[in-house]
């Protein structure tokens, strides 16, 4: 039997598949399609210090093999999430990862600290890279020093393992990864979306109300694979990989590139069953390419 289990800081995953932040809400909608306990874990939608209403609409656009989004971190605020969403997800037998966002370092600290109130969250994902936050969030994700700084500060106030989510909109992803590792990050999640834009010909202006949005989906997979492959040669903390995954072969490609687990985002929209279907197909795909376990495959694509 193929062993799908992976152990990561704070997360005992029965399989390496989890929905990506922002693409799965807080799980309620998808729980009507299947039993969420099948998942390896779940990453919740971003939480900020207080309620956020997000950007104006349109908030999404379709692109070739991808999509743009500029949701703008709409969420009910960390307190409400702990009160109503976390207990709901805790009904399922899966580790819960909370995605932490903010416009200032203080907000990140506040949100992270507030998650100490519950023991139902198993790890934090620091969303330092959301390209749609205008008040300043973006610079954390593209400057190694600022990224290290917010990581350190959050580490100090939180009891949980911290996964820092890296932005692909940088010249030197390795420098970013090394900086947050040195600052105490327990893991990395990568990649967030690439900053993009679509112009709507009929009205001649950017289609998204926010003008720019984050590009996700199969279009960005080669960028994600390249970045993980490069980063894994320079850091030793584990990586949760994401960016365009839509089948079990894609998952194996991420594992070979050095990811220890993966998240699936955009693909949920086309197929709400994508996560359980991948989990089901993964053993056969691993076997086809000669692996007995997920653990076996991690990083095996790296040529040194």
């Amino acid at each position: 039997m193929t062993n799908l289990a992976v152990d990561l800081p704070g997360l005992k995953l029965k399989n390496p598949i989890m929905p990506a932040s922002g693409c799965f809400g807080f799980g309620r909608e998808y729980s009507e399609f299947y039993d969420l306990s099948k998942l390896g874990a779940v990453i919740m939608k971003a939480a900020t210090g207080s309620e956020r209403f997000g950007n104006n609409t349109p908030r999404v656009a379709e692109t070739a093999s991808g999509m743009l989004n500029a949701i703008g971190l709409q969420n009910p605020g960390v307190e409400k999430i702990i009160e109503t969403e976390v207990p709901y997800l805790a009904n399922y037998d899966i580790p819960i990862i909370a995605n932490v966002a903010g416009s200032t370092i203080e907000e990140y600290e506040l949100v992270a600290k507030t998650f100490n109130q519950t023991d139902q969250v198993h790890a934090l994902e620091l969303n330092i890279s959301c390209p749609n936050v205008k008040e300043g969030g973006i610079q954390f994700g593209t400057d190694p020093d600022m990224a290290a700084n917010v990581t350190k500060k959050v580490k100090k106030v939180s009891d949980l393992p911290i996964y820092v989510k890296l932005s692909p909109n940088v010249s030197d992803i390795v420098a970013m990864a090394k900086a947050v590792e040195a600052a105490g990050a327990d893991g990395l999640t990568m990649i967030n979306t690439l900053s993009g834009m679509q112009i709507h010909l009929p009205n001649k202006h950017p289609l998204l109300a926010n003008k720019t949005g984050g590009l996700s989906g199969p279009a960005i997979k080669p960028v994600a694979i390249r970045m993980i492959y490069e980063v894994k040669q320079h850091v030793s903390i584990p990586v949760i990989g994401m960016g365009g995954i839509s089948n079990a072969e894609d998952v194996l490609e991420f594992l070979l590139a050095g990811a220890s687990a993966v998240a699936v985002g955009t693909a949920n929209f086309q197929n709400p069953f994508i996560c359980p279907e991948i989990i089901e197909e993964l053993p056969a795909v691993l076997k086809k390419y000669g692996f007995n376990s997920v653990q076996d495959a991690i990083g095996k694509g790296i040529v040194v």
Binding site: Y30, E32, F53, V60, A61, S65, M67, N69, P272
Partner: protein, 251 residues
């Protein structure tokens, strides 16, 4: 409950300029659907599904009918699908129209262009319950007009075209003066039309069906929100809508 279902194409027909009628076979959807709900259609080669309203249901044949206009690459591709092919939908999605308002003896349906389809199944169901139906349907021009006959079978109906090439000339609001009194209205169409109607019929009880670009179509991604007048901030068109009370949302 929204399910992921395969729809079998029973027929494909062009019924007006760039306008396709498809009859689709699926037991679950035909049984579960209520007027105003939509299907979230998976079209090959496209990242995102396309929301298309349910225009009619035949429970005995286990079919649902959709009508769509070729707007961009997705609807163009879908229009090339042929009888016998299948495609995946999520549905029936959204809340649908509130048709339980027993007080509403006479109802006005106001449709604009590709907003007309959901009103047909709604009108049919309301007519079955014995309500009086009046319809005002707006199209761009003569060659875009569809389902005129079908709406006439439900009750008095007015056609308006922007260029006057058929029926009255102008916008649906231009003929509202001609329409006799009614208890409640239901409308679907482009935002400017809905805005004009809700202002014009401010004193009336009404329901409007809204459009917005969608990601998930199930309420998870917060793509399709609309500000509400109540303190609740935003509502999701895919889940809380697409139908809202005319006073509930800010257009």
């Amino acid at each position: 409950m929204i399910k992921k279902e395969e729809m079998l194409i029973k027929s494909v027909k062009s019924i007006a300029l760039d306008t396709i009628e498809m009859v689709l076979n699926n037991r679950y959807i035909s049984r579960a659907a209520v007027p105003g709900q939509f299907l979230h259609v998976d079209i090959q080669g496209h990242t995102l599904r396309r929301p298309i309203s349910i225009a009619d249901v035949d429970k005995s044949e286990e079919t649902v009918t959709i009508l769509f206009k070729i707007m961009g690459s997705g609807t163009k591709h879908l229009s090339a699908y042929q009888t016998g092919m299948t495609f995946s939908v999520l549905g029936p999605s959204g809340n649908g129209f509130n048709i339980d308002n027993r007080e509403a003896k006479s109802v006005l349906l106001i449709g604009g262009g590709i907003g007309v389809p959901p009103l047909y199944y709604l009108g049919k169901r309301l007519a079955e319950e014995g309500r009086e139906i009046i319809s005002v349907l707006g199209f761009q021009s003569a060659e875009s007009v569809f389902y005129e006959q079908k709406f006439q079978e439900l009750g008095e109906s007015f056609i308006v075209t922007n260029d006057g090439s058929y029926g009255d000339k102008g916008f649906v609001t231009n003929v509202l003066g001609k329409v006799k009194d009614f208890d409640c209205y239901y409308s679907c169409g482009p935002s400017p039309m809905l805005k004009a109607i809700t202002e014009r019929l401010e004193h009336k009880h009404g329901y409007i069906s809204l459009e917005e670009r969608m990601g998930c179509g199930v309420g998870a991604c917060f793509a399709c929100v609309i500000p509400t007048d109540t303190s609740g901030g935003y509502k999701k068109i895919c889940k809380d809508g697409p139908v809202f009370s005319s006073r509930e949302v800010t257009l």
